[in-house]
Symmetry: C2
Subunit: 686 residues, 2 copies
């Protein structure tokens, strides 16, 4: 039990680091008055959006908590955990966003004199988000565990923690959808009029949508991704602890302690890693980021070995966790191949732009589809290897769980690197808008390139994470299903979801359509909002005299407002789909078929998300490679064709794709939470 105290203690220490980083960043110079003014526009836009978004989320959470309280009575803990999960998620986002919007202007200010320092500032700003997620995850889950009386005598109380995961999931899906729709509608709208119709560069201050675009980088990439990782962190931990329940006969109390401790030590690793990232003079920023990653990974491997041998007395656990770490690296490598500048897919997409935009898009779709194969096969093989190494049968499940814990171990440092991306993106935008001159632009661009590399790594990481986590969450569902149904779950034939039973086939089919339906709604929302943004930007160019010549300023706030209103409106539809479908299946086809439904959502969601991420990323870099002067460079016909591809990819890679990762986990955690109801009232099919 003393070991359990470690989690909240490390959580507090991590929060302390967050405070230190935050105050260090805000003490840095915020640049010229123009820069400060631009930054204040972005801050105001982001603050307004978050305020309205959080208010909307709060309503849904309150309603959901009420329903949960009534439906699950007397298990008040579910509703309580649900609210806690959502609130902790929003607090983490708030801290991270506040840091991010303050950091970017300071980064561009430092870029004027000391590019190395600019890197350090940007990274520490990002680390504020990364560490606060890890810390709040630990504090929330260990706090609730104390409150609900989880202990060696009452291990089964861990299943009450699902409420926390459910709350985090629901907050995350709203945050990712809302942020994703906001950012891409602004981005697409800005590009369609700016780059395509009028031919002014990215981030040009004459474009009315440019502030909305910069705000979007924060609320989409930063807040959205933060909520996603907060969610997968909690879901993964809660699920691993629930799976642990089935392993108490084998490992004792350590089966449940292991996930919590590995996460605790992960927080320490993230702190060490973030301290290792320091920019210095002319050093390549990518090297600095890699150093941080390697420090965390090395520390994780050592501690997994210690946990495996000392706590679990089973070195197989260490091998499996290491496999998970390796899988994350391998998948990242594949993603970098499919989306990296200078690699074959991006080069071919750029080349096909010579033949017009349709062939650019066809080629991108083709490589995007191809790119689904390797990551999924890698994860499948890791899953099989972990299963074998840990002895197969039911024991194999703990091996897969350990592999998933291995992947999530890097969460803190990855999130820090990921938030680094939008921060330097914003910094470079602020430099452009404030007219800081070519030198500053250049050093901002070097940072931006490092940011893009970080984004590619984190995307591969996110994918590996979502796939493995969803497997673990499925096993948690089965563990709970067996427990509630009174089945002693000691080997595989004890628990069977027959894939060839027509009811399960039907559930699988229905599950397979949900990621398509969900993505359709998310993508459409971006399209509809972009329509309005295009109209507004066109109107301002038409009606504001002197705007195109640079003698007048556009009204930025109108575009921010369009994005805000639409994002809040459209984030509801896909969420309703995501909630109603599994509930309907659970009641009408029963809890066993619901497992089949979850598998359907998972496999289609994983493939579709990978397709959308990689096609979008490749189109983006194909455009960038033409911008560097290939095939006629900016303004040429091939360039215009590549902009079409890039714009089509935007909602795929930044709205629907990341939301799908959340969807996969949300469906599972919702199923676990409501399982007692499905068992009680669900239809029974023979």
């Amino acid at each position: 039990m003393a070991l359990m105290l470690l989690a909240p203690i490390v959580g507090f220490i991590t929060m302390l680091c967050v405070a230190l980083y935050y105050s260090w960043v805000t003490r840095q110079d915020a640049g010229t008055p123009t820069m400060r003014q631009i930054a204040s526009h972005i801050q105001a836009g982001a603050r307004t959006f978050l305020k309205r978004e959080f208010r909307a989320i709060a309503c849904f959470i309150a309603g959901g908590a009420g329903v949960l309280l009534l439906a699950m009575w007397p298990l008040w803990q579910i509703a309580f955990g649900f609210v806690t999960g959502a609130v902790f998620s929003m607090v983490a986002i708030l801290i991270g966003m506040n840091a991010a919007v303050r950091t970017s202007v300071r980064t561009s200010s430092a870029a004027r004199t000391d590019p190395g320092k600019a890197l350090t500032i940007a990274f520490r700003g990002g680390a504020t988000m990364g560490l606060s997620i890890v810390a709040l995850n630990l504090l929330g889950i260990s706090g609730l565990a104390y409150l609900f009386g989880v202990s060696p005598d009452h291990p089964e109380a861990v299943s009450l923690l699902v409420g926390f995961g459910f709350g985090a999931s629901l907050a995350a899906i709203f945050a990712q959808l809302g942020g994703g729709i906001f950012t891409k509608a602004a981005d697409v709208g800005a590009d369609l009029v700016g780059k395509v119709e009028i031919g002014i560069p990215e981030d040009d201050p004459r474009n009315a949508a440019v502030i909305a675009d910069l705000v979007g980088d924060n609320v989409g990439d930063c807040a959205g991704r933060g909520a996603d990782l907060f969610e997968s962190g909690s879901d993964n931990l809660v699920a691993a602890m629930i799976v642990g329940l089935a392993f108490i006969p084998r490992y004792g109390w350590a089966a449940i302690l292991f996930p919590l401790l590995s996460r605790t030590i992960g927080a320490v690793g993230a702190i060490l890693g973030s301290l290792a990232v320091r920019g210095a003079g002319k050093k390549n920023p990518a090297t600095a980021l890699n150093t941080g990653l390697l420090v965390t990974a090395g520390f994780s491997l050592v501690t997994f070995y210690l946990l495996g041998t000392l706590l679990m007395k089973d070195v197989a656990v260490f091998y499996c966790a290491s496999l998970g770490l390796l899988a994350a690296l391998a998948v990242s490598g594949v993603i970098q191949y499919y989306t990296g500048m200078g690699r074959k897919p991006v080069a071919k997409i750029a080349e096909s732009s010579l033949f017009g935009s349709p062939l650019n898009i066809i080629t991108g779709i083709s490589f995007g589809m191809e790119s689904t194969a390797l990551p999924i096969v890698i994860i499948s093989l890791v899953m099989l290897a972990a299963y074998r190494i840990s002895g197969g049968g039911l024991d194999g499940i703990y091996g897969i769980t350990a592999a998933a814990l291995g992947i999530t171990e890097l969460k803190g440092i990855i999130m820090a690197a990921d938030t680094f991306g939008p921060i330097v993106d914003n910094a470079s935008g602020i430099a452009e808008m404030a007219g800081l001159g070519p030198d500053v632009r250049r050093s901002a661009d070097v940072l931006d390139a490092a940011g893009n590399m970080a984004k590619a790594i984190t995307k591969g990481y996110g994918m590996a994470c979502a796939l493995m986590t969803s497997a673990v969450v499925l096993f948690a569902y089965l563990t709970e299903l067996a427990r509630h149904a009174g089945i002693e779950f000691t080997s595989f034939p004890d628990i069977v979801v027959n894939m060839v039973h027509p009811v399960n086939i039907a559930a699988l089919f229905i599950g397979a359509t949900i990621p398509f339906l969900f993505s359709a709604q998310a993508i459409r929302a971006v399209g509809l909002t972009a329509h309005q943004t295009v109209d507004e930007v066109r109107r301002q160019f038409r009606e504001i005299p002197g705007l195109l010549e640079g003698r007048a300023l556009p009204d930025y706030s109108r575009c921010v407002d369009i994005s805000t209103r639409n994002a809040l409106h459209h984030m509801v539809g896909p969420t309703v789909t995501a909630i109603v479908a599994p509930i309907a299946v659970g009641f009408l086809l029963g809890p066993w078929a619901l497992a089949a439904y979850l598998v359907g959502v998972k496999i289609v969601g994983a493939a579709l998300a990978t397709f959308m991420f990689n096609a979008g990323g490749a189109w983006d870099n194909a455009k960038k490679s033409i911008e560097t002067g290939k095939y006629g460079g900016k303004g040429s016909e091939p360039y215009k064709a590549s902009v079409v591809g890039d714009t089509v990819g935007d909602p795929l890679k930044d709205t629907a794709g990341p939301s799908l990762h959340i969807l996969i986990k949300l469906e599972n955690i919702l199923a676990i939470t409501l399982l007692p109801l499905f068992l009680k009232y669900g239809m029974v099919w023979k």
Copy 2:
């Protein structure tokens, strides 16, 4: 046994009808010398392509037969059936193609004087294809059944028929991929230079790719779809008979006779339906097509009732078959909503063209994704209903099989209507190229609109068919698996593929990536070939003096040659993927995990194909609705944006989408064929 004789007798009668239709059509007037000359270009192109394609297919079939003979020895019947299936499929295509290319010029000739007669000619030309498929299906399978000694004493010999299905599948995937790549590369290439760069209309004789495009309509839409339906006809029938093996204890020999007889009576229904289609004066062509469909459907319902009550003594079989028929109609209705002119999705896509091509594409992707939900849910519900009606448990499987037989009952008439599409498309192209004047164009356009409606119906039908058939083929796999593994398969718990076992999850994951990988290769092939076509058409406009002014003719044969060479080259890659993947899974993960793999291919393939079909169809009609004058009509900016969407959709809806339908079935039939090898040499995972 006397009843079994019915199948070959009706098969011969149907072939007789084919001969009568063929000779009737060829006796019609073939128009002016110019028209004859254009038609002879198309015929020559189609003949050359088919000759080279069949030669390539023959090599693969011969190689495959050799391997099968060695691997399955002493079961020579598998290899023999394999060759027979492939040869029969190619003969059906040959007959149908010969009829189609002769019919189109006669249709445009008749359109000059009597639009009603033009309809009758076009439909009878199409019916030649539709009926020869049904007839050769019946003759091939019943002939092999006699040869292999299938009888009430040796019912298990039906499982030797899988070779026929496998041969038909392999020929079909080559024909569909080769034809699909040919047609779309020519189409995309012609459009990119003609419509987008130079601004000349569709089917303009100055475009060097225009003959290749018209040839493509025949080898892609007509030959490819024919091979697809021949395949699904054989697979469905063979699978239903194998499933019937498990039901001999319940229904006796009738369990196996029922599928064969229902198909036999389906042929009679198709003949009656095709006779009912007659154009007359000003009558709406769509009404005439619908009449044919209704006659066949009505006849089928009556005979299903008789078969159910008299042969099977179980009226539930009739209900299930009727449900299948209804499902086909319901899915067609959904497809017509998502791709129909004047319906919301197409209108919204057209509207979004006002905001540039990226939003046109985003909106199309969104509606395409949304459109996957309803068809798949409808099929799932029909499957559940058939399962329930027929008593659930193992008995429910026969109900689902009967529903699938209900769907396939319409195959002949649907295929006739489907071939009608490319015929009138070609007729209208010939009218344009021969400069026949606005009156003839107009009556050709009316036929074309009916052809598009027919295409929409047949696509929905094809989808419903592929989904249900793939379920039946899966059950056939399980029946065979149980038989070979010595499991007495009398209720569900006897045969279990546990969806939550990690090895099966991995197989499911791998299966889910195959449709993406396969589509990626097919789409890329179109892109690469279109590159070359664009280069060639551009070169001819540049180098042939007077071409653009209409004073010189382009060299059509060069574009035909580019499409031919590339189509034959690129049809190999996806096929290898489709063959290697299930064999690898079968050996490395074992035959039980292979069932999971098949389910993965099926659900992802179904959703992805539906997405590609409907997005492509909707983009096409959005473009057509702007062509009618909306948003500025032809030549306007929104029109250009809509052409981009249409061009992107081409390889999705006409190359990858239809090939996926074949893939789903090919994987299953391959698995059944090689099952004894997997059981003998496959790895065993505990």
